[in-house]
Symmetry: C2
Subunit: 470 residues, 2 copies
Amino acid sequence: MALADLVRIDRNEDGIAAVLGILKQRFGERLQTGQSIREQHSHTTTYIPAQLPDGVVFAQSTPEVQEIVRCCAEYKVPVIPFGTGTSLEGQVNAPGGGISIDLAGMDKILAVNAEDLDCTIEPGVTREALNTYLRDTGLFFPIDPGANASLGGMASTRASGTNAVRYGTMRENVLALTAVMADGRAITTAKRAKKTSAGYDLTRLLIGSEGTLGIITSLTLKLQGIPQAISGGVCPFPSVEAACQAVIATIQMGIPVARIELVNQLQMKAMIAYSKLDYPESPCLFLEFHGTDAGVAEQSEFFSEIAAEHGGGPFLWTKEAEERTKLWKARHDAYHSVKALRPGSQAVATDVCVPISRLAECIVETERDIAETGLIAPIVGHVGDGNFHVSPLIDRNEPKEIEVLEAFIARLNERAIAMDGTCTGEHGIGQGKMKFLELELGTGVDVMRAIKRALDPDNILNPGKIFPLS
Amino acid sequence: MALADLVRIDRNEDGIAAVLGILKQRFGERLQTGQSIREQHSHTTTYIPAQLPDGVVFAQSTPEVQEIVRCCAEYKVPVIPFGTGTSLEGQVNAPGGGISIDLAGMDKILAVNAEDLDCTIEPGVTREALNTYLRDTGLFFPIDPGANASLGGMASTRASGTNAVRYGTMRENVLALTAVMADGRAITTAKRAKKTSAGYDLTRLLIGSEGTLGIITSLTLKLQGIPQAISGGVCPFPSVEAACQAVIATIQMGIPVARIELVNQLQMKAMIAYSKLDYPESPCLFLEFHGTDAGVAEQSEFFSEIAAEHGGGPFLWTKEAEERTKLWKARHDAYHSVKALRPGSQAVATDVCVPISRLAECIVETERDIAETGLIAPIVGHVGDGNFHVSPLIDRNEPKEIEVLEAFIARLNERAIAMDGTCTGEHGIGQGKMKFLELELGTGVDVMRAIKRALDPDNILNPGKIFPLS
């Protein structure tokens, strides 16, 4: 995407200079303005060009975030929250410059309430750090995007991952947030009760708002008990369509599958080569079941029957941890395996999600489209939710390729939206998908704009993201 | 609660007269202004006095709702959406008069997408009507508040019920909404994909907004497969505390209980008398498990062991439909059984919800409080979620009793909030709980106000609910 297509935010040079001076005095070495730090804080795993902030402050507490936001509010200078920088749609770019608040240092686990199956953490805690910390409690936090993202960032983009089909997304797994609003006030969105009808759902409003309405400074998360038994395995299918039909039947039967991931033929080829797997080069489903010993065996056998009915199988499943770990490591390494298909290239993320009844059709049409464009673009999908990622491999320095890519992405998003789906199941809108959000929700976006204007009248919180303001 | 304590909305007499004239001409007999119809449309199952709208329009389509709202917007006249009138906190009262839009006639089921486990309906469809319609599809909609409420109303108050511990609340079970906003525009909040990261979560913002931000005119709901097997039963415990400890252990073990309802001693007494049950007069848990034949047997046996460890039992469970139906009919008739404890009295609903680790403590303190006040006030609870209802029986014409009641309710809500809980798990704020919302969320309520002002600058949509605007 050409920089010209992105929202432009006029730089407020005087304000930025004033804020940098004040923050330098206040935070000393914790304000950094060097080129490489600023580059790192505008880095996104996309083909969208970087737009650097003018300074990066490493914050350590909610009052510090309040102080920084108040200072920026006074001078009307943009503030961009930053976690691990693993967002995929330009969410941490700074189109009008301004201050990046790095929250990685706010990484304390504030409370684990094992009896209530919840915990309260700071936003810089990553999902792996949280699960490592929880290991001895018998609990875990199930949301697992590919990257080891910060939980504040995961809330901001409404992230999910392979477990969402059973455990839901960040939308379903956050009980309450603390956030610093555009005027520097800190609010708490809810108490710790598991359900509530107390006024507007500010928790859900902030989740997925990508830092444009408030900066999350603590999260209370739901936790799950580590299942007594886990089984899993890989099941080959003669076609993507057959695999999708098996998925629909599995979901409809109410089998509480924990993970059901589609890997198309090209992606299997890449993973077999990269992770040295002993599987056929055909479309496969990767599955996992959570429950009791008897339960996971029952579920696995049920699925075997469904797979056979759709021409798939054999479904070789196991409760053995080592085997399963290898399998899911291969799935999580899909991104790297893909890049090996075309050394030196960059994999671009896409993220459509459709009702599962349309999934087979959407993937089949997309595979045809890929063949016609000549792109190298494998597919993996969280298919229990109807969500799949095509990852075209491009040479960022070839304008021709970018052109083909952009046209392909537009068709992909339009195809999903026409099937009553969305241009983003879990990555967010950021800068990259703004025009598709308009196509998808029309006048709904005007309501979002009105909320943004009410809560951030000077447009200082992560400006130029999700939608253009005018 | 004295009328004086409620938010006053100045009546806009000229505007109301103008709107009544226009709507009469447009809707003829579908605009009603008779006393009894107006009374019926301000009826709430609470001790809050009724405040009548000036007219009731029976709407039949989204464009009609748009037309009514546009007319009221032009003259700045209040609009109050009405479904079945079963809300509990004065949600359908009209403190400044205005127009009640009765949506009961918008009761079409627009689409059932069985493969996707979803359906799209108009807001006047009730939960029982929907489940009757779905019966042959093998699917059901799990949210079950006590009343046979309309689904539009259930979304507006973020309702839940006995199944929420397994299936979630309205928050988790709505995929998308159509709503008419204060200026008469209709918006769609999302597509039909199971998950999405496309911009602000307008679906969740409208759910629980009690008609103050928009009028819901269609809903796309998630459906569940009817489980292959269901087991259930009643388990007595020596004390409320022992029962609560068994609940905590059950949830923590990850047993996917579908219903786990506490009935305290007084409530058991009432139900035994009213529904002719053959159970001991001690605190009981009513349980239900959903799954496969083997699964529900395994879950039921697990629970038996947990109950025994906490001094409870025997847990006599059955897969027999007739037995279970009787049991849940008794549970659903709890409200009526309570009223029989004091003929001629009115049962007042309360609705606190706390983290389950605090549940035993909260209920024990509340029972002590009840004993000290001399109120007759049985307790039932959706205890898997930490939510319980104390139902004091009062004589509405006795100011002394109202005074005792109000002081008790204040202590109850304050107790729950102090335990990191909420004053409302599923009934909403309405008029009755406004001051407790402020106590619970503080500055968060200011953010709600800012959103309300941005989306409804003239405060015409259900004014005087959730929070005072100034």
